[in-house]
């Protein structure tokens, strides 16, 4: 199989899953349909009916981590190709990436010292 066929296969897999899900939905519908009754479609709130809408500005308290995460995630994009050619490039590759990671790690330590690694 060449690469194109492989991706074709993956696409077919996605379509297959969607097909399977549709079949399940049809099966469930054949067994019985949902009754429309008042109060049934209120989101779960452990016994109380009234509730506010919740699509709000959400306070994610891990934003300190999230900022550092961006830096590390970018770094990973370089790591994969480097990993593949690592052995044939040898010690130089280790030093190259070592310097790069050391700088990144210093950034981690700096963030840590500035209190990025806590619940804000």
């Amino acid at each position: 199989m060449n690469a194109l066929q492989q991706y074709g296969l993956l696409l077919a897999l996605i379509c297959g899953v969607i097909g399977l899900v549709l079949i399940l939905f049809a099966l469930a519908r054949a067994i019985g349909r949902t009754q429309q009754e008042p109060g049934k479609n209120v989101p779960a709130t452990a016994g109380m009916l009234s509730r506010d809408p919740v699509w709000v500005r959400y306070h994610a308290r891990y934003y300190g981590y999230a900022l550092l995460f961006l830096a590390f995630d970018m770094e990973m994009a370089f790591m994969y190709p480097w990993a593949v050619v690592y052995k044939q490039t040898g010690l130089v590759a280790l030093l190259d990436m070592g310097v790069f990671l050391a700088i990144l790690f210093l950034g981690l330590l700096y963030g840590w010292s500035q209190g990025a690694f806590r619940r804000q």
Binding site: A46, G47, R51, R57, Y58
Partner: protein, 356 residues
């Protein structure tokens, strides 16, 4: 402010049809979190039928992200201690109080019996008193096991939930030989929980309470208070009862106190050597006022009643949960949601016994 608004309106006009969202304008009326960020808060009910909380407890949390910004708490099943105006016969009163709290029926039954006896001026036989204590202590073990199961459910500790539930059922049905066999199981459970990774970090430092007059029972004892109705009781003194105590006042200390108390209760049962369910008292047509206090699994409960020609016409109950519920708003403030619910769970509230 009007200037800002006008400015924002101007900006909007400049962009023609394109809606311009000024961050200043959008966020100016929003509540500020502790770190100064303007965020929207939502009010979310937890309970009265929430899986990780005692049934009947309605906790309304205002969430700022996943942290608790405001807490309102109320019991939707409490107030069961209120008497019908016509009064109740002694038997009826005992049954009424027993049915009030399904989480600790024996303790309240015993409390009612004691108060009635005090009002009628009766003193039960010493052996009966000792055997009643054994029943109360058996309920304490069962109640603490039930609390452990709840803690297991709340913290997603499936093993604890299943194991403690099974042990609790066993304990509720157990006669003397069976319950003494539980000893090794409870010891093993204690040893295991103390060693469980993550449990300590989950409970340590969560919901720290400082000694105050609002604390009762295991919660108070975990905070280093000498607060136990049993230390003043002669029957307990005769059984060489020693109070357990810890200093930290956090969830982990409360776990330790309850684990220790189960062992202690087993020892008490063993030295009594028999059970006697608190039976209804024949008060005849006595009149008088009576007062009794007793250490329920959740802390000291006090009962004052007035007996008029054999009928209870007035009763006043004072329970631990009533006080502990008041702690919640301060205790939960700014805690992460999961931590907050674990804190509530670690207080072992019984919404049924809330009197107000």
């Amino acid at each position: 402010m009007t200037v800002e608004r006008a400015h924002a309106g101007h900006a909007r006009a400049q962009h023609g049809d394109m809606p311009f969202m000024s961050m200043v304008e959008v966020t100016e009326d929003l509540p500020r979190s502790r770190d100064g960020l303007p965020m929207e808060w939502v009010e979310v009910p937890f309970g009265p039928m929430f899986p990780g909380l005692p049934g009947g407890l309605l906790l309304t949390l205002t969430l700022d992200g996943d942290a608790v910004a405001k807490t309102r708490v109320r019991s939707v099943v409490g107030g069961g201690g209120v008497l019908p105006t016509a009064g109740l016969s002694a038997t009826g009163f005992i049954a009424h109080l027993e049915a009030m709290d399904p989480l600790a029926p024996v303790a309240y039954r015993l409390l009612a019996c004691r108060a009635l006896e005090a009002a009628a001026g009766q003193v039960p036989d010493g052996e009966i008193r000792r055997r009643r204590i054994a029943v109360l202590e058996r309920e304490r073990i069962a109640s603490h096991l039930g609390w452990l199961a709840m803690l297991g459910l709340q913290t997603g500790f499936a093993w604890l939930e299943r194991h403690a539930t099974r042990m609790q059922l066993e304990c509720l049905r157990a006669d003397l030989p069976r319950i003494l066999q539980l000893r090794s199981t409870i010891q093993a459970l204690t040893a295991r929980l103390v060693r469980t990774p993550l449990l300590r970090s989950r409970l340590h430092g969560s919901g720290i309470v400082r000694p105050s007059s609002d604390l009762r029972g295991p919660v108070a004892r975990a905070a280093g208070m000498r607060c136990d109705a049993r230390i003043d009781d002669e029957t307990y003194a005769a059984l060489a009862f020693e109070m357990t105590e810890r200093q930290g006042g956090d969830g982990f200390d409360r776990l330790h106190i309850r684990l220790d108390e189960m062992q202690q209760s087993l020892a008490l049962i063993q030295s009594v050597g028999g059970f006697a369910e608190p039976a209804s008292t024949a008060v005849g047509s006595a009149s008088g006022a009576g007062h009794a206090s007793l250490e329920t699994p959740r802390g000291e409960a006090q009962l004052r009643l007035v007996l008029e020609s054999g009928r209870v016409v007035q009763a006043q109950l004072d329970t631990a949960t009533t006080y502990h519920m008041k702690l919640l708003p301060d205790l939960l403030d700014q805690q992460e949601l999961g931590d907050a619910l674990t804190t509530v769970c670690s207080l072992d509230l019984s919404p049924w016994e809330v009197t107000a």
